[in-house]
């Protein structure tokens, strides 16, 4: 805050000066931004180095490891598509954690919203077999948003009106969501033909949303990018977003200045759940074509990791989701070429998480970034 206030004068006075002064001005102006890139970047490098050591302990060459990780994640056009396909649902589920975080809430139930979103979207598609595909698809998006949105709103409402911790309630709602899904898929909504894999009926090939032309990446990526961008604008460039951040900073102050905190919380929870709900809808409309237990693939849980790594910045979520998508895309190659167990990818994710969380302590403590001139 204080450095921001000093900015205009400093920038006007120092900018045209000699190189050292210019650098100082640059640091002063962009120090925080540089910090936001440099610290997670260093944490990532540290995590990769540690993982390399871990792999070396198993007698594998860490350089091979880095090469295969690069090749599997970004080395070829196929690898890129693999990475982006995996990143798409993560962007959306990460928003489910990142948006409520603006209000100081820790929501970790994106998986539940994804499942309920998928179930709602499938139900809508199945009751309107007569409608043209575009109408069905639009209805599926709406149903996904509403289903997932209401699911997380439930956590928000429990917190605001009943004093229930939203972290616990959202997590427990994941298991309830999965139970509801299994109950319906194995009962009321079961396709009698799905003998050994209980599933709903298929939504029909015509209603599938398919891939982005020229690629194998489904449209979920575009939904994710748009949702992330819209969330960024909402949080940082609207009165609503400003109110949310004020309430997140100090809820009593927000109440004193007359902000409708309840409404803010419920709205944000709805949007957050809606994002995860779209992820579920996409899984149905672009991948599975129906609802069954396969949808509980853990995207909601990986999304939590993505949100925390991105420090809950909606735009930061995009590169982090691509990074984690890449790690998971390269996981197969690590298994096949280096003979590492599947769990090694989880170990890497864990190491990254620990490094990034630990690096939080560094913010504001790196003296040269403070721009003292």
């Amino acid at each position: 805050m204080t450095s921001d206030a000093a900015d205009p004068a400093q920038a006007a006075g120092v900018a045209p000066a000699a190189a050292p002064g210019f650098l100082a001005g640059l640091l002063q102006r962009y120090g925080t931004t540089i910090e936001y890139i440099l610290i997670p970047g260093a944490a990532l490098v540290g995590a990769l180095a540690t993982f390399g050591l871990f792999v070396a302990l198993f007698g594998k060459n860490p350089l091979d490891l880095y090469f295969y990780m690069y090749q599997g994640a970004f080395g070829t056009w196929f690898s890129w598509q693999n990475t982006l396909t995996r990143a798409a649902p993560l962007i959306l589920t990460a928003l489910c954690t990142a948006l409520p975080a603006q209000l100081g809430m820790v929501i970790i139930g994106g998986e539940g919203a994804l499942l309920i979103g998928a179930l709602s979207a499938t139900s809508v598609a199945l009751v309107m077999p007569w409608a043209p595909p575009l109408v069905v698809q639009a209805a599926m998006v709406c149903a996904g948003v509403i289903g997932g949105g209401l699911w997380i709103t439930l956590s928000g409402a429990l917190r605001q009106y009943r004093g229930v911790n939203e972290t616990i309630s959202s997590l427990l709602l994941v298991y309830i969501g999965l139970a509801v899904l299994n109950h319906l898929v194995e009962g009321l909504m079961r396709d009698p033909a799905s003998l050994n894999k209980p599933s709903t009926r298929e939504i029909g090939a015509a209603n599938m949303i398919g891939s982005i032309p020229g690629t194998d990446v489904h449209w979920g990526l575009v939904f994710g990018l748009v949702a992330a961008l819209a969330s960024y604008i909402l949080i940082y460039h609207t009165v609503f977003g400003f109110s949310a951040r004020v309430a997140g900073g100090n809820i009593r102050a927000a109440k004193i200045v007359g902000l409708g905190v309840n409404k803010l919380i419920l709205t944000i929870c709805f949007l957050a759940g809606g994002a995860a709900g779209i992820a579920g809808m996409i899984e149905v409309a672009a991948v599975q074509g129906r609802t069954n237990a396969n949808l509980a693939a853990g995207y909601g849980f990986t999304g939590i990791l993505v949100a925390f790594l991105a420090r809950h910045n909606p735009l930061g979520i995009i590169p982090v989701a691509i990074l984690l998508g890449g790690i998971s895309a390269s996981g197969g190659l690590l298994q096949r070429r280096l003979g590492l167990p599947d769990a090694s990818v989880l170990v890497l994710q864990g190491i990254i998480f620990v490094f990034v969380l630990a690096s939080d302590a560094l913010y504001g403590r790196i003296s040269f970034l403070k721009g003292k001139s």
């Binding site: 350089l63 003998l195 396969n294 998971s328 599947d342």
Partner: protein, 370 residues
Amino acid sequence: MEFGRISRRHLLQGGAALTLGSAFGAGGARAADTTIGFIYVGSRDDYGYNQAHAQGAAALKKIAGLKVVEEEKVPETDAVEKTIESMINLDGASLLFPTSFGYYNPHMIKMAKKFPKLRFEHCGGLWSDTDPKNAGSYFGYIDEAQYISGIVAGYTSKSGKIGFVAAKPIPQVLRNINAFALGAKLANPKTTTQVIFTGDWSMPVKEAEATNSLIDQGVDVLTCHVDGPKTMVENAARRGAMVCGYHVNQSPLAPKAYLTGAEWNWEALYPKFVKMIAAGEAIPNFYRGGLKEGVVKTSPYGEAVSAEARKHADEIKAKFLSTEGYSIFKGGLMNNKGKTVIAAGTDRGQKDPELEKMDYLVKGVLGATS
């Protein structure tokens, strides 16, 4: 220096990509240079479903000229499509075994259409005429082996109460429970089989709870149909109960308590498939077999199995292996609600499609399908 290594690898991969297609395309006279991809939904050392397939893969690794690549814990989402493509693009795989049931539709079908020159073999037996011709599905009548286990269990149980820890009340599982219970009743008509459904394929905590609760109710022989029988086998053995295994031989986990078990015999089937391809024979798109065809087998008897049990079990096994065969499900068969499900005089042989829709538990089984 580092760059040299990379480019050399690229060269090798390029070479692998070039040999792709020629391996099977040209009459299949040569099995050399063939890469086979195996994909598992769980870990390949789970003492269960995935390990059974991994043992099949291990049998292929011993054959000269074959290269096997494996990937475990691949979810039944588009991740499996990407794994298949990655095995094809980066490893040059030309024969793929996506082994989990949920990989089939839409994922494997989609990949089979995308790579029409490559061969896809799926475990689960779902192939129908509308599916691509380069895709196939195989499965085994493992209820025959369960029937043998049931006989052994029926003789061994002192309380006459047998326990079955099961995942979901779907036809494949119900058929195993019923075959096991009928086998047990053949040995001792008074035997009851208590079943507990855990609700999913891999629920170790619930499986342990079910095992304990069954033993608390007086059950002294247990078996299961879940992805990893390890939990049930170890817990039951610790409590002093006897066990029959499933998927693979679990006797190393409980040498004293292990009676016998129903095992897959993929280590025989997979090399057979590869030999058929190499000889230019077509693998039937829909492939099934039981004990006689060597697709399933029973574990060697444990020391606790009595001579009487061995004799009876061996007799029935010989019937399964004989040319006239043996039917487990024949009339009049009643379900556990007192309704006749197979009328007297009707003999449902193994290949009867009616058995694939099984939705009941036979008389003598305690439990409900819903």
